[in-house]
Amino acid sequence: MNKLKLNPSSITFLPILVCIPLAYELLINFHIGGIELFKEFIISALIPKINNEIIITLIKRLNETIFIAFSSWLVSIIFGIIFGILSSDISYKFLSLPIFLKRFIKLLLIITRSIHEIIWGLILMQIYGINFSIGIVAICIPYIAINAKVFSEQIENINLKTIQSIKQINGFKFSSLITLFWSPVIKTLKNFGLYRLECAIRSTAVLGLFGIGGIGTSIFLSFQTLNFRELWTYLWGLAFLIIISKAIFKKINLFNTPKKFLFNFVIVLFCISLFSLCFFVYFIFNKNIIPFNSINNLLILNSNFNSYDFLKLFLETILLSLFSSGVAVSFPPFFILIFNNKIGILIIRSISFLFRLIPPPIIILVLLMFNDPSISLAALTLGLHNAAITSKLLLVNLYTQDKNEYIAMQSLGVAKRTSWLFGLFVKQARSYLAYCAYRSDIIIRETAILGVIGSIGLGWQLQESLSSFAWDEVIIILFAYSSIAIIGELINGKIKSNLT
């Protein structure tokens, strides 16, 4: 097997080349028409609207957001663990389960996670109407599959010798099964599970933009009426929620909690989640069985798609994914390298916080004030949002590692940027790229959101087909999305295995 020949550091910087076509198209489409609106948008960030009415609405909306985000996070974590165990090879080495079950579960998980929660939300909303249990289900479907993948990867690392020795001593019991899985599950829950809560909050906010409820709905309504001061009140409210939830979860130390208490707690959570899922299934199917059946009858394909147009949209979506990934991978190290001083890093941190906070559909709506809709604009938006996420990880890893080589190089008189590059960045490049490969999977799925708002690719067609209630077209688009995401996941998996 050929290994990648280029070194990880150069591969990290190489995607900056996407800036050439991006800058070209953005310059062609640039206009100053909305510059006054943009000025108003920026100034409003400093003077958000504050009065009794808006504070009450903010609290109500945050409450809904917390409810949707927390419920979906809880259910997706618990079912993620269960499906993670059921889809890991190691479970089948000592449990007498049929192997086709593993294959079936794996396939099911691949398909469900290949479609973004926004698309699930839009579809479920069209079928079942407006209520926020739809938001919870929409987030849970792909999140369970993503969590299952991460948990299953960690469970695969269990030492086979441990299993053999348990087998030799007394054979398998339920308690020994728990003991075996306990450590990787809790470790992943600590490292990854809490991060997923932040993701669930963001997803709830974005789903709100499409009408599910919560803070996103207020954000979208204020933007649509160009009420920027109100918009910033909600955005700062969302920032407050994200910061507070992170601070609370940092305080919880899972390793120091008594195991018995945790075990009881997990059982309780599991029972609640199981019942809640039963409730959702009952709620959805009991209430809407008639339209659901009538939609089944509509699955006779008589689409109006012109195959040329469809291919064009398909290619636009792939191009959008590639350009956005290029920006997300290369911008953080590039800008940290250029603005490599305390003030520079502080500015990068602040800007990346804002790009993480403001949902991508709102970013693109702001950028549309002085640029026409194009692939480049959507790619820049998606790229910047994801670069804000990758830069956070890169900064944390860069400045918490051992700095001896960097200090040595500086004391030898090597230029600051050179010593940063060879003393600090080189050691992180490999793991950073591996994370970016994972991030690219997410970018591919997120192209749907930008497409819906920015008139680009399959996302735009999906919105048109959904608003015309053309279910046959919706199915073709979903199939196309799913194929792109699955192929992307396979390629990124290959890159990751070459890097680690």
Partner: protein, 297 residues
């Protein structure tokens, strides 16, 4: 091993929240509307109407806001909304998807509704009288209102096509969707878009009440008349409330009288002098245009 007390408390708390939708009363008349204007305008208009309907019909009436046109159609189909103020296109979509639904009424102005095209003053484009001159909009940044708006998208696109202009003739080969009529004015006024199309009523209201918002915008062209907004109700209201309820509801809406002070404000907010009877057949042309532009399949 299991702490039953904690399990019981946690489960009870969770279920009391999660099952709340099941306890929703069936005796509440839920009103909805397509969000064609600023939410605060809609909130005031429909809350006021709900209060009046509640007083006259002696039932609880609740206004449920929705975020977009599609959600209003879906909410009606899934029985989340009982009575909805639809546009021409969304009304047809909703009725096609909801068997037994009933057309209740329309405003006096909806029999002959019109859309207007507006342009940013910087373009120095004079108003036109012949639709053929719409080709002056080619290569400009153009925005419609919502994707499913009759007066903000469907009919303007129909008249544009009729004049030989396709969407791909606009700058970038695309048209934008502002989401609402008010947003269309704001975006053209700011210069973010060069031109746009919207509901005549909203344009006239903004000209009268919001000079700041329209100071950089100029009227360009007005479309011929077509039928638009109407009230559509579920077909099961008699069964859910009482015998003859749908007729009572229809009469209440049609009998709103501009001479009565309590009704004047409501009718003013709808920009109407009265509500009148209408029939689903009046909307056949809208259905034909909708099918032609593939908004109805």
């Amino acid at each position: 091993m299991l702490n039953i007390k904690k399990l019981f408390i946690a489960s009870s708390l969770f279920f009391s929240v999660l099952f709340s939708p099941l306890y929703a009363s069936t005796k509440v008349l839920r009103i909805g509307a397509i969000p064609d204007q600023n939410q605060d305008v809609l909130d005031k208009r429909f809350n006021l109407l709900s209060k009046e309907l509640s007083n006259i019909l002696d039932i609880e009436v609740r206004y449920i806001p929705v975020i977009n046109y599609v959600a209003a159609v879906t909410g009606f189909r899934t029985n989340d909304l009982d009575l909805v103020w639809f546009g021409g296109l969304t009304g047809v979509q909703a009725r096609l998807q909801t068997p037994n639904s009933i057309v209740i009424a329309q405003r006096d102005i909806d029999k002959e509704f019109k859309s207007v095209f507006i342009v940013n003053k910087k373009l120095k484009l004079d108003p036109i009288s012949n639709k053929k001159e719409l080709n002056k909009l080619k290569n400009l940044r153009f925005t419609f209102g919502s994707e499913n708006s009759t007066s903000g998208r469907l009919m303007p696109e129909y008249f544009l096509n009729d004049a030989g202009i396709k969407i791909k003739d606009f700058k970038g080969g695309r048209a934008g969707f502002s989401g609402s009529h008010d947003a269309t004015i704001a975006l053209v006024n700011s210069g973010a878009y060069d031109a746009g199309a919207l509901n005549k009523q909203v344009w006239e209201n903004n000209l009268k009440n919001n000079p700041k918002r329209t100071k950089n915008v100029r009227f360009f062209w007005m479309t011929p008349a077509y039928v638009d907004y109407h009230w559509v109700a579920q077909g099961n209201l008699d069964k859910r409330f009482r015998k003859g309820f749908t007729e009572e509801l229809k009469a209440t809406i049609i009998n709103l009288d501009i001479k009565k002070p309590e009704h004047t404000k409501i009718l003013d907010m709808f920009n109407a002098k009265e509500f009148i009877e209408t029939k689903s057949e009046y909307y056949k042309n809208i259905e034909l245009v909708g099918r032609k532009l593939k908004k109805i399949r």
